[in-house]
Structure formats: structure tokens, C-alpha cells
Subunit: 188 residues, 2 copies
DNA sequence: AGATACATGTAATACGTTACATGATTTT
DNA sequence: AAAATCATGTAACGTATTACATGTATCT
């Protein structure tokens, strides 16, 4: 628990960043998995600084703008992160997806309407998959020759998970469209 | 948002239940996806009753125990649920899994240690998969001949998703164990 | 002229988890 | 004799989302 702090450390382990940068990263590139608001980022950064896990690298001031405070990971921060990575992982994962709950109620509605819902969701995941595959192609090129101690390796692992997840989701949609379709059209 | 109310309605759409029953169902059979505490269930039940989506079917009183209040879905509750099911679904799903965040940091630690982590997680998902497959075999038997308007159809859809998810997770673990393994043993 | 990006931060609100309180019965 | 089960509910806490406040430069 309290994974956000580790999310912040994970990003800072790769490069120095400001709170704003972190927010952008999480809601952008790493978006599929995590999202944060500024209210979580800034206080947590202060805490981490207080604990000596990160340190203020520098402040970029543009006079008309709030100071841009860039943080970097300290050695003890790097240690804490590595320790956490190797800790026995929480086996409880949530997998709370509204749509799955909707599917649980598929028996309540007209098959044709449920099919339409499934198709809509399917399209959404197709788009996501396509985006991930694009990124992946790029990444794989950059990855050649690099060893597993390169940060890109971690990026690739997460991206790969995302790709597999989207594929699996799509197949599930297809399967249940098929099942519901066979039903409605079947005994005529 | 506020999916818990729909989770409660989803269960009550199948059979009348008490708050306690609901809690047990969610943390047991439907456990992989949802969990709730009593503090969420009881207030929400009161709210739903106030809105006329559910009604008190009866109270079982055993003198030495708190009254067991059993609720059932009303017609307007069933309508509200069906409407929600057909609403354009939220495309934002979280997929927040601590272990994926750990994997993002795999480059920070010794490959052999990460492999051990992956193997541990793999075992966990193997066990889950086995449990789901058991349930699924049972379900498929009970399902034969039933149409898509049977609640079991919804159960099957969710279970199927769980099975696919676990399989996908396993494959991902295997792939990354392989990749890290090939690394360490490779250029010797 | 108006919206968006930059950049920090706070406040209000919603959602979720853990722990507590009660109290007899049944299981270990 | 101790612990778990049943059954409701409240309280305290922790985490997350949304909105707000500030203020200039740049893009449309």
C-alpha cells in the first residue's frame, strides 16, 4: 500500500523531474496504469524529501511563473525502491473494471443491445492496442543490444503487459459477441 | 462512478440478500473483482431503499442476534440496473497492479532476483487459474441448455474474463523470466 | 479575444480499508 | 478456554478525484 510514493520514485529513478513532469508522465505515457492529481504529487514529494529519498536538484525560475522544482533520487531512495521491488508482492490485485460488472448483468438486457456494448468496448481496446503496438515497435528498436539493467527494459515489460492485456480483452469481447450472436440468430 | 451501488443491485437482481450475504458474496465468489467493507454496504442499502430501488423483503430475528434484514430488488431497481448496463461505458479502467509497477523497475535489481519474484507471482496466478477452471467446469455443466437470459450466463462471462486474465498474466511472467534468464546465462 | 500550456499548491469531496462494538452459538 | 461465525452498524483513517487559485506567454 501507498504505491504512489513508489510510482514517484520509479520515475525519478530514471531521470530528474519536477512535480509537474511527474504528473504529465503518469497521465500520459504511463497513463494506462496510473493516474494522479497534483494534490497527491506535491505533498508526497515534500515527504520523500523529508525522508531523504529524494533531493532538490535545482530550481528553474522564470519570474512570471511558479518556480520549477526539479528533484532527483538519492542513493537511499534508490535503495528503498530496489528493496520494495524485491519485497514479496501483495497478491491482492483489484481488477475493478466497470464493464466487467456490466457484463455480469448481461442476462438482464436484450442480447442485441449487449452485443452493441461489447462492440463499442472492443473498438476502444483495439485503439489502445494499436497505440501500444506503435510504441512497442519504437521501443524494440531502441532496445536492441541493451541489457536488462537499462531502464528501457522495465518500460518494455510494462508495455508488453499492456499489449497482452488489450489482446486478451479483445478476444473476450469477440467470444461473447459470438456467443450472444449465435443465441439470437440460432433457433429461428 | 459509484459502482458499488451497481454491484449491490447486480447481486440483488439474482436473489434476495442481506447486507451480510452481499459482503460474503463479494469477498468470496466474486472476490477477484470486488471487495467491500460493511461500512459501505449498510449505508448504501439504506440509500437504495430510500430511492425505491430495493425494498425490505423481511426480517429474520433470532433474539440473540441482530435482525437479519433481507432485501429484494424492485422493478424500478431492475430498470435502473438495466439502464446502467446499456449506458456508454466509462473507457477509463485503472489496472493498478503493484506488481506491474515493480516490473517497471526490474532494471534496478539483479536479474536472478527479479526472476524469483516473477516465479512467485506466476505461482500465485497459477493457483488462481486452477480455482477458476474448477468453477468454470461446474458452471458449464449447469449452463447447458440455458439461454442468455439466465443469470448464470453473466456469471460465465465474468469467470471467463478471469480465466483469460490469469492465462495472460502467466504468459507474461513466463516471457519475462525467459528474457531475463537468457540474459544472465547468455554471454558466459 | 479566448483557450491552452506551464507550474505550484490547497480545499472540498468522494471512495475505500481497517478496526471497533455488541453478544450468543457453535466449532476447535 | 479460546476462536470463529453470524449480523448489524459506526468511527477513524487513508487514498483518490475534482475543482480552485494564481498569473503570464503562446497558440488558435
Amino acid at each position: 500500500m501507498n504505491s504512489i510514493r513508489y510510482a514517484l520514485l520509479s520515475l525519478l529513478a530514471r531521470e530528474p523531474l519536477s512535480g509537474y513532469d511527474i504528473k504529465q508522465h503518469m497521465n500520459g505515457r504511463l497513463g494506462p496504469f496510473w493516474k494522479v492529481g497534483s494534490n497527491q504529487v506535491y505533498p508526497e514529494l515534500s515527504k520523500l524529501e523529508g525522508e531523504g529519498l529524494i533531493r532538490l536538484l535545482g530550481v528553474e525560475q522564470l519570474s512570471y511563473r511558479p518556480a520549477r522544482k526539479v528533484y532527483e533520487l538519492t542513493d537511499s531512495g534508490r535503495e528503498a525502491l530496489a528493496e520494495w521491488v524485491l519485497e514479496p508482492a501483495e497478491t491482492e490485485f483489484s481488477l475493478r473494471d466497470d464493464f466487467i460488472l456490466k457484463a455480469y448483468n448481461l442476462w438482464l438486457v436484450e442480447p442485441e443491445q449487449m452485443i452493441r456494448q461489447l462492440e463499442r468496448i472492443q473498438q476502444h481496446h483495439e485503439a489502445k492496442l494499436a497505440a501500444y503496438l506503435d510504441k512497442s515497435a519504437e521501443l524494440e528498436r531502441a532496445l536492441s543490444g541493451k541489457t536488462s539493467s537499462d531502464p528501457l527494459y522495465g518500460t518494455a515489460a510494462v508495455l508488453d503487459f499492456g499489449i497482452r492485456h488489450e489482446r486478451q480483452y479483445l478476444e473476450w469481447c469477440q467470444e461473447w459477441i459470438r456467443r450472444l450472436d449465435g443465441e439470437g440468430a440460432g433457433p429461428k
